[in-house]
């Protein structure tokens, strides 16, 4: 049998790097043999693409300072990292792929150009490729959910795993909003995720204990603390991540208006509690609680 030679256009920029073409705008004609040298798109029923949205936030160890003019908190020259709950989400998605339950893990971020670093972290942890919706606008959950919906539909993802909340705005909304907009089920505050054929079983951390629900796939899952312990990216994987595809798109290209719906009027320091007194021993403590504070 002879070798079929086909000629095709590379339209998808994420494949460009495989051909050393380097740029997203390159569309060129190349000849290849029999089958393309990139992974073939999954088609089977058990083939699951997982989308993992990640947010770049002020590192959780940084002491937050409120700006003197009350316009917000200081973010200039402050260490930024991936939102810790999103790290857990990336870990879970990568484990699903390693366990043969997922075929591709796509990390997505909505934020400034520097969010590419956050996406590189996700790639170093094991995500296959990344998409940055680049914007300097304030990112509020409803607009982010709309952008994510557009990407989910474009990519044909069957599962979205993201952190239950970002540690900057503490909204805890994006996953639920995305599920609503897509008309999918939601497994929020997950401590266990078990996909099966056509459904995913999610154990959720609720007040007073755990609840397990079964969701029809496709679905959205939000990660809580005990879902897993995220890995540290190894140096070789960090190097490899630099070569993985990272596409940059504009919110406009997805047809989404980023104008914030909530207007922040001011940001202030919380009321400070004053330190009290030291007591010498347990007997003195009990006396203070009984006689002075009258709480026991």
């Amino acid at each position: 049998m002879g070798t079929a030679v086909v000629s095709m256009q590379i339209k998808d920029p994420r494949y460009a790097s495989l051909f050393n073409m380097g740029g997203a705008a390159v569309a060129s004609r190349v000849s290849i043999l029999e089958r393309p040298p990139w992974p073939i798109e999954p088609t089977g029923a058990n083939q699951m693409k997982v989308l993992v949205p990640v947010k770049r936030v002020v590192d959780y160890n940084v002491k937050i300072r409120v700006k003197a003019d009350g316009a917000g908190v200081e973010t200039a020259n402050v260490k930024m990292s991936m939102n810790p709950f999103d790290e857990i989400a990336v870990e879970e998605a990568v484990r699903l792929k390693e366990g043969g339950k997922a075929t591709e893990v796509i990390a997505v971020s909505v934020g400034p150009a520097q969010a590419q670093e956050t996406l590189r972290t996700a790639l170093a942890m094991g995500a296959d490729r990344a998409i940055l919706v680049q914007t300097d606008a304030e990112t509020q959950p409803l607009a982010v959910a709309k952008l994510l919906k557009a990407l989910v539909e474009k990519e044909g993802a069957q599962l979205v795993i993201l952190g239950k909340q970002a540690i900057d705005d503490d909204c805890n909304q994006t996953g639920q909003m995305l599920a609503a907009l897509l008309g999918w089920g939601q497994g929020t505050f997950a401590s266990k995720v078990a996909p099966a054929d056509g459904s995913v079983t999610v154990t959720r951390e609720i007040d007073g204990g755990l609840e397990t629900v079964s969701l029809t796939l496709p679905a959205v899952v939000t990660a809580d603390l005990r879902l897993n312990e995220p890995r540290y990216a190894s140096l070789p994987n960090i190097m490899k991540a630099k070569k993985k595809p990272l596409d940059i798109v504009a919110p406009d290209s997805l047809g989404i208006d980023m104008t914030p719906r909530l207007k922040t009027l001011k940001v202030a320091e919380p009321d400070k509690r004053k330190a009290g007194v030291r007591v010498s021993d347990v007997a003195a403590l009990v006396e203070k609680l009984k006689i002075e504070a009258k709480v026991i």
């Binding site: 503490d170 719906r261 919380p270 709480v295 026991i296």
Partner: protein, 311 residues
């Protein structure tokens, strides 16, 4: 305009956080209606009708709401908002409220406001950001304000004295997106963390889960709930539902006793509104002492048993 409060309940009774959400609704101002969605939720609806300030209770009794799954409750709330024209939808910022409110907001195409600690006006709210390191005042111009309410920031509405009417409302078709499998609720003789008058919590200094029995001995004497810091949960000492902090439960009891807890900002965010705070820690530099009314610098393994026997 009237306000719809989504009740948190277990069919038999209302959960206390519902009363705090009603209190926040009273600050917004307007007729307050309470939605009780469940299967056999008549008793909870009757309890809601007695809450001071509530003018109407909407009871949606349907098998689809047996486990109050958000995929089914959210469309019901949306249908009520559209039919009645509510200007506000409020829910307690509990795991149930946080689950359903954003889903409602997205279906209404509005940006929800999470975890408010203050009502400045009907469209302006205060809410903590960065684990309580800052308080943002935010204004919503959306047609419907969908808001979750931090229970500890609002004095509960009286559970007696009201005389609202109870009206049955029709459910909407089941979504078929999700189904309840099981629940594993911690059985405890002790009060719930978020509603306890006294809370005693342990941190990494407890060294093991077994050592939490030292705290339980004190809790039994005081009728207190037992909590933990995130460090203790991360170390596997206790389950996550013990966790007090920004990523766990927010508590504001009359007395909070922090044992072997250093006082990371994450933890402080969950308990600093307690009326009286006691810290027991052998590290006198621990940040917890900066917020404690009474600090005891000593080895907890001596102090806690001594405290139990002194009570």
């Amino acid at each position: 305009m009237s306000i719809l409060v989504i009740a948190e309940h277990d069919d038999a009774s209302l959960k206390p956080a519902t009363l705090n959400a009603v209190a926040a609704a009273a600050k917004v101002g307007g007729d307050i209606h309470v939605l009780v969605a469940g299967l056999d939720a008549q008793p909870a609806a009757q309890a809601a009708a007695k809450v001071a300030g509530v003018s109407k209770v909407l009871l949606a009794a349907d098998a689809a709401y047996a486990h109050q799954l958000p995929e089914d409750v959210a469309p019901l709330v949306v249908s009520l908002v559209k039919a009645v024209g509510y200007g506000h939808v409020l829910a307690p910022a509990t795991s149930a409220g946080k689950n359903v409110a954003p889903r409602v907001a997205a279906l209404l195409d509005v940006q929800a406001v999470s975890d408010i600690t203050g009502v400045v006006s009907a469209d302006t709210f205060e809410r903590p950001i960065y684990a309580g390191s800052a308080i943002a005042t935010v204004h919503s111009a959306d047609a419907v304000k969908v808001v979750t309410v931090r229970a500890t920031a609002f004095e509960a509405a009286a559970g007696e004295g009201g005389s609202a009417t109870v009206e049955s409302v029709a459910g909407v078709d089941a979504s078929g997106l999700s189904s309840f499998v099981s629940a594993e609720l911690a059985k405890s003789e002790r009060p719930e963390l978020t509603s306890a008058r006294i809370v005693i919590s342990g941190g990494r200094g407890m060294q093991s889960g077994d050592n939490f029995h030292l705290l339980e001995a004190v809790a039994d004497k005081l009728g207190a709930a037992v909590g933990a810091s995130r460090a203790a949960v991360d170390a596997g000492f206790v389950p996550n539902d013990y966790q007090v902090g920004q990523t766990g439960k927010i508590v504001a009891p009359d007395l909070y006793i922090a044992v072997g807890i250093s006082g990371a900002i994450q933890h402080l965010a969950g308990m600093k509104d307690s009326k009286v705070i006691v810290a027991i820690n052998k590290d006198e530099e621990a940040p917890i002492f900066q917020v404690a009314d009474y600090g005891l610098v000593t080895d907890l393994f001596e102090a806690v048993p001594a405290l139990a026997s002194a009570l």
